[in-house]
């Protein structure tokens, strides 16, 4: 299997933390049954992209990551 490059792994961890802090993202235990829906992180990325007016892809692209790295207020943008 291809190994995820270290940088990409770091970015994913950073994005996960960002979504936890500001988009009420909670990592769910993987289900035995495969969900038809998008994975929860992609859904949260979409939500974040939509809030900031970025292209909504659900993918952690450079534009999205760049936005996540901007200095910001610590209050969540979206709450449950």
């Amino acid at each position: 299997l291809p190994v995820i490059p270290e940088k990409e792994k770091e970015d994913m961890q950073f994005a996960q933390k960002y979504l936890e802090n500001f988009y009420d993202f909670k990592e769910e235990k993987s289900s035995l049954f495969k969900s038809k829906d998008l994975n929860p992180m992609s859904k949260k990325i979409q939500e974040m992209q939509s809030f900031f007016g970025l292209e909504v892809t659900g993918q952690l692209n450079s534009q999205t990551l760049n936005m996540m790295k901007q200095p910001r207020c610590g209050i969540p943008d979206v709450r449950s």
Partner: protein, 366 residues
Amino acid sequence: YSTFPLSPKWNKEDVTYRILNYTPDMLQEDVEEAIAKAFQLWSSVTPLRFIRLHSGEADIKISFASGFHGDFYSFDGPGGTLAHAYHPGKDIGGDAHFDEDENWTKFTTYSGFNLFLVAAHELGHSLGLGHSNVFGALMYPIYMGKDTRDFRLHQDDIDGIQSLYETTPTKPPARPEDCDPHLTFDAITTLRGEILFFKDSYVWRKSPYFRDIEHDTISSFWPSLAGGFDAAYEVDKRDQVMFFKDDQYWAVNGYNIQPGFPKPIQSLGFPRNVRKIDAAVHDQSTKKTYFFVGHRYWSFNENTQSMERGYPRKIAADFHGIYHTVDAALQKNGHFYFFHGAKHYEVDVKTKKLIRTMKSNSWFDC
């Protein structure tokens, strides 16, 4: 714009704030100015008034801290999260925390974060606003360094805050006419040779330097003081005027409110059951100040800054002929003037005897 779940807000127009500590990145007066300007942005579009406290419990407490600082949201070192604030409520509610690991600046530079901009955003949260997804709005979550000269709120921020706080401030009562036969006063004091008569948010200024009575609002002299004083008096030796409202008092020197105020009236020696005073007058010759509460009065020694023993006493027992409560009091030309309703009583300072009774508006040559 957005608001917090259940739209919490301050259910009053006078909101207090206190700066608990300072960042070493800036001069203290620059921090104070940035915070005051940030509050001014919001007060300019709402009926809210922000009153700074130097001690005690304030609604909005402002502090700088690094890393873990006693709440659930630790700061993260330079960059990333710059600050956070809590929605209106008790205790931590309304408080604003700034990450001390950032470089705070007075101006917008590449090497730091403009404290005014960040504070204005955080105070939006302290007042009940959540984040806006409108790019360019102050409540947009990302820091955008911009020129802060002549800074104005985005319409989205205005719409947001005005959805929480009525746009039309509660209409102040109209100023009574000078010669209104029913004219009464909340408080009266001398100030540097002039006499100031207070009623609601208005002040009548009678000066030996000009012939006519000048009409002003209290906020035009002291912007952070709300009207509706209970009492006022001048200690001419200290060039100080004291204003009383409910259970607090302020000392002012000219236009400046002195640091450390307001203080609770209990710090003057009043018992806890005294929640407000009706009137106060300072006797320049004895350096004593008389405080009137209901049908009794206290004597305060300005030299020793303590209440005199044997008080409170009945007003009528010492000031013969004064059987009423006192709305406002004044000392001028060797006389005390005690105001009650639309009348006032001229009393000799030494003998404490009633000389004559006049209409309150006689001070305005009516």
